[in-house]
Amino acid sequence: MHQQQQISPSSQPSLFLSVSVTDPAKITNAVQPYISYNLTTKTNFPDYQGQEKTVTRRYTDFVWLYDRLFAKYKGIFIPPLPEKNSVEKFRFSAEFIEMRRQALDTFVNRIASHHELQHSEDLRTFLQTDEQTMERVRSQDTGIFKKKQSDLMQIFRDVQSKVTDVILGKEKPAEESNPEYEKLKRYIYELEDHVAEAQKHAYRLVKRHRELSQCLADFGKAIKLLGACEGDTLGTAFSEIGAKSEMLSYKLQREAHHLLMNFEEPLKDYVHAVQSIKGTIAERANAFRQQCELAETIKLKEIDLKNLKLFRSEKILEAELELEELKADGQEATRRFENIVRLMNEEIVRFQDQKTEDMGLAFHEFAKGQAHLATAIADAWRSLIPKLDSL
């Protein structure tokens, strides 16, 4: 999926950045075998090395990129990664590898076509540095960028502060009281459930295709044997039908794969996207809380200062300086929060647009696949009717 992103009305020549993820290869001489992919970048972005460059990356590199973007671009819905799936990983089936490759390709290209994310330094690092440097960069990351850990810590802190507030009887408005936003949050949470259910059934449908394929193959074989027993015209009829059955079995197998890659996977991607948004929602809550906490602290400090001024303490200067700092921090926190809010509003529109496109395509592929399959089945059987009549 190669997308071209045009930088809107400026005198610059149109900039583009497109990536393709190809050639998955199993690397076995490491501690644990893994899959490496070729990433080929075609671009005319000024900071990039040349028109075209290819590097090799592995899944954990993609995870690194995601974590960096998530930490730095709060408010933006970072495109979702395919899941870790550590069980499947060990099997490395061809289908799994293909599914992952496709998902990673989509991931990178979505970043490359996002008007803000595409300018990220981390993206450039990811797309351009050699393998060893990448590994070094990746392992340098500690603490703050380890998303999972920070999430956990945040959750603890949240619980802590809530409990403290209750105990201290503080009426802290730790959450936004924005009804629109509440609706959005509820929408996102419910959406995940609905889409997940649809995806579950889509996956089952793939399985059903495979099962039917197998049954047709077995049925065809058995009918052919019966035909051999009968001989004569009836025997011919049986073997014709058996042969057709086996042919259709193969077609069903193909359709199962097509369904998986072009319908089930996009649905899975949809689920992941919604989950990614939930991450952003958490970040927004954090920013809001920080803002509030700072506002509280500033208020308290102002009261302190007033008191100090009353008593003409020598600490006044110190306190005033502190207050200045806090006010600056407060402004910064407010700015950050408001930035997230603004970005989120934009992102939601973009998300909805994109999902309509994505799902529209997925539906189209689904319907097309089913129509082709049904037509093939109809043709196959129809072609037998004159033969049967002639016997």
């Binding site: 259910e197 189209h364 319907a367 129509a371 049904a374």
Partner: protein, 569 residues
């Protein structure tokens, strides 16, 4: 793009269509409830399709997936489409472009009708034979009633049984009348079946329903009675379809004679056993009483049960001789053609069993596919409703509209699969039926083997007697002046031999007769099988093609409507 223009009406339409979907579902439900209450109360008995036969091929039908047409359609506990509550709604415009289920039926019914067969489940093996195309003999079994056996009740009020109303419509001359009914109980059916197997040895006689004592304890009384009723009906219809048996006196008596069934339970009466035992000691000591030696008429029947213990012993010994002896039996089954045919039939039976199993798997896979499609459709319906309820953006509305298309198509496809399956079951059920027929063939071949064994036994006996006579004559001639006791003995043996010879002749004639019956029946079977299977295959193929085409249309519409997305990727 869809949905951009009139958003307001779009929303209204989205809501309406969801209700339409539900009413669509309910329509389905209603139709199913009307169209095939096979296992419910005994509704219209003539509308019974070729579902899994209960009696004759019961051993093949404990698989849950070989139910009747009705069961396929109605048993979906986990089908979400059928879980919607509330009242039946009138078909809306939505339903008008989804043809009601019976349309498909009609298409295929007309095809099958051309073939001159009755679709509605006579359980018929044969298509109408050319010579008697205007004859008819239609039977229905209805109205089970509980009755008391007043005669034999040792325990007052203890011995109750169920009777069924057997109604016949016919224009066959041997019946006096065109429509009449009798009441019969299951025991009568057993009697009929036994007499037929005795009178029509060598024929492929349809198997009667099981006695199934165990099931009668386990199942609910009502269910059991219903199952039995269906089984009886199928059985009688099969008898009526057999070109020779339908003209039998036994069947006529069963169908027409009021009151007690005028057939002997069997020629093999329990009291005979006692007779046999009385005769036994005398025969064992070699003193055969002339009249009790071998009743020539009896050889026409196989040695059974208590009827003739001695005969049984002899035939057993003979069969052992045949198997182990090295001596070639006097009459060899030398009909090579017969042996070849039998081997072929055995192979056929084996492959048929295999196909029948695969057919069941196929049906199950089709059913699962339909179910999952339905569930997928339903999930999208919910998603559609969700997205359109609080749609803030146009893109959501557009997506909801797209989704609705997919959802309704998935539901339609799901329904098509269910119909396809119901038809497939109907066609492929022929396979099951023929498995049952193979059993009847095996029985007919057993008749033949038994008859042959009887002949061989008698031939052995004859040669045995002849040998003894020779010995006696040789010994007697050495005695000067005559040996009165020996001469008397020789006379007796000669008489026995004469009777035995007569019996042997009859046995041979019986054997030949059975052979002839076998041959005739085999030809009939071949022809019918050929016709039946051809029609089954064609039905299957037409069915698959028809439904696939319908599905293709459904999906092509959606593909067209979403083709805009394809270009933009």
């Amino acid at each position: 793009m869809m949905g951009f223009e009139n958003q307001g009406s779009d929303e209204a339409q989205l809501y309406a269509s969801r209700e339409e979907l539900e009413s669509l579902v309910l329509d389905d439900d209603d139709d199913n409830n009307n169209s095939g209450n096979g296992n419910g109360s005994g509704s219209n008995p003539l509308f019974r399709s070729n579902g899994g036969a209960n009696g004759d091929d019961s051993q093949y039908h404990h698989h849950p997936l070989s139910p009747s047409f009705a069961e396929i359609s109605t048993t979906e506990d986990d089908d979400p489409l059928l879980s919607s509550p509330s009242g039946y709604k009138n078909p809306t415009s939505f339903n008008s472009f989804l043809e009601p289920p019976s349309y498909a039926d009609a298409v295929f019914r007309s095809f099958d009708g051309d073939r001159g067969k009755q679709i509605n489940g006579d359980g018929v093996v044969s298509s109408s034979s050319p010579s008697s195309s205007s004859d008819y003999l239609k039977i229905s079994v209805t109205d089970p009633q509980k009755e008391q056996d007043l005669n034999n009740s040792l325990v007052p009020g203890g011995n109750s049984f169920v009777t069924y109303l057997i109604t016949t419509w016919t224009n066959l001359p041997e019946f006096n009348g065109t429509e009449f009914s009798v009441r019969r109980r299951f025991k009568d059916v057993v009697t009929l079946s036994d007499r037929l197997s005795e009178s029509y040895r060598g024929y492929f006689i349809p198997l009667r329903p099981d006695k199934s004592v165990v099931e009668s304890q386990v199942m609910q009384k009502q269910e059991f009675v219903e199952q039995r009723r269906i089984g009886l009906e199928k059985y009688l219809r099969k008898l009526a379809a057999h070109p020779v048996i339908r003209r039998s006196e036994e069947l006529r008596a069963f169908l027409q004679v009021q009151g007690k069934l005028p057939l002997l339970k069997t020629t093999d009466v329990a009291s005979r056993m006692i007779d046999g035992a009385v005769k036994l000691p005398k025969q064992l000591f070699g003193e055969s009483v002339v009249s009790a030696a071998v009743d020539p008429d009896e050889v026409v029947q196989p040695a059974k049960g208590g009827r003739d213990l001695l005969r049984m012993f002899k035939e057993l010994r003979q069969s052992v001789t045949n198997d182990w002896g090295g001596t070639k039996p006097p009459v060899v089954e030398e009909d090579k053609e017969f042996l070849e045919k039998r081997k072929k039939l055995q192979d056929f039976e084996q492959e048929l069993t295999n196909v029948s199993q695969q057919a069941e798997s196929l049906v199950k896979a089709q059913q699962d596919m339909g179910e999952t499609l339905g569930q997928l459709g339903l999930a999208f319906v919910k998603l559609t409703k969700f997205e359109s309820e609080e749609a803030k953006f146009n893109s959501q509305k557009v997506r909801a509209a797209d989704m609705k298309n997919v959802a309704t198509s998935a539901v339609k496809a799901s329904r098509l699969y269910r119909e396809l399956n119901a038809q497939t079951v109907r066609h492929l059920d022929k396979l099951h039926e023929y498995l049952g027929v193979m059993l009847t063939v095996n029985n007919a071949y057993s008749d033949r083997s038994n008859a042959l064994l009887t002949v061989q036994t008698l031939l052995s006996e004859l040669s045995n007697l002849s040998f003894r006579i020779e010995k006696l004559e040789a010994a007697a001639s050495k005695v000067f002046g005559g040996d009165r006791s020996r001469v008397k003995k020789i006379e007796e043996l000669k008489e026995t031999m004469r009777v035995t010879d007569e019996a042997k002749n009859r046995a041979v004639r019986e054997y030949e007769r059975i052979k002839e019956n076998n041959k005739m029946e085999l030809e009939r079977l071949d022809k019918e099988r050929h016709d039946d299977f051809f029609s089954m295959l064609k039905g299957f193929v037409v069915n698959q093609a028809g439904y696939a085409e319908k599905m293709a249309t459904v999906w092509a519409t959606v593909a067209n409507e979403t083709s805009g997305y394809a270009k933009s990727s």
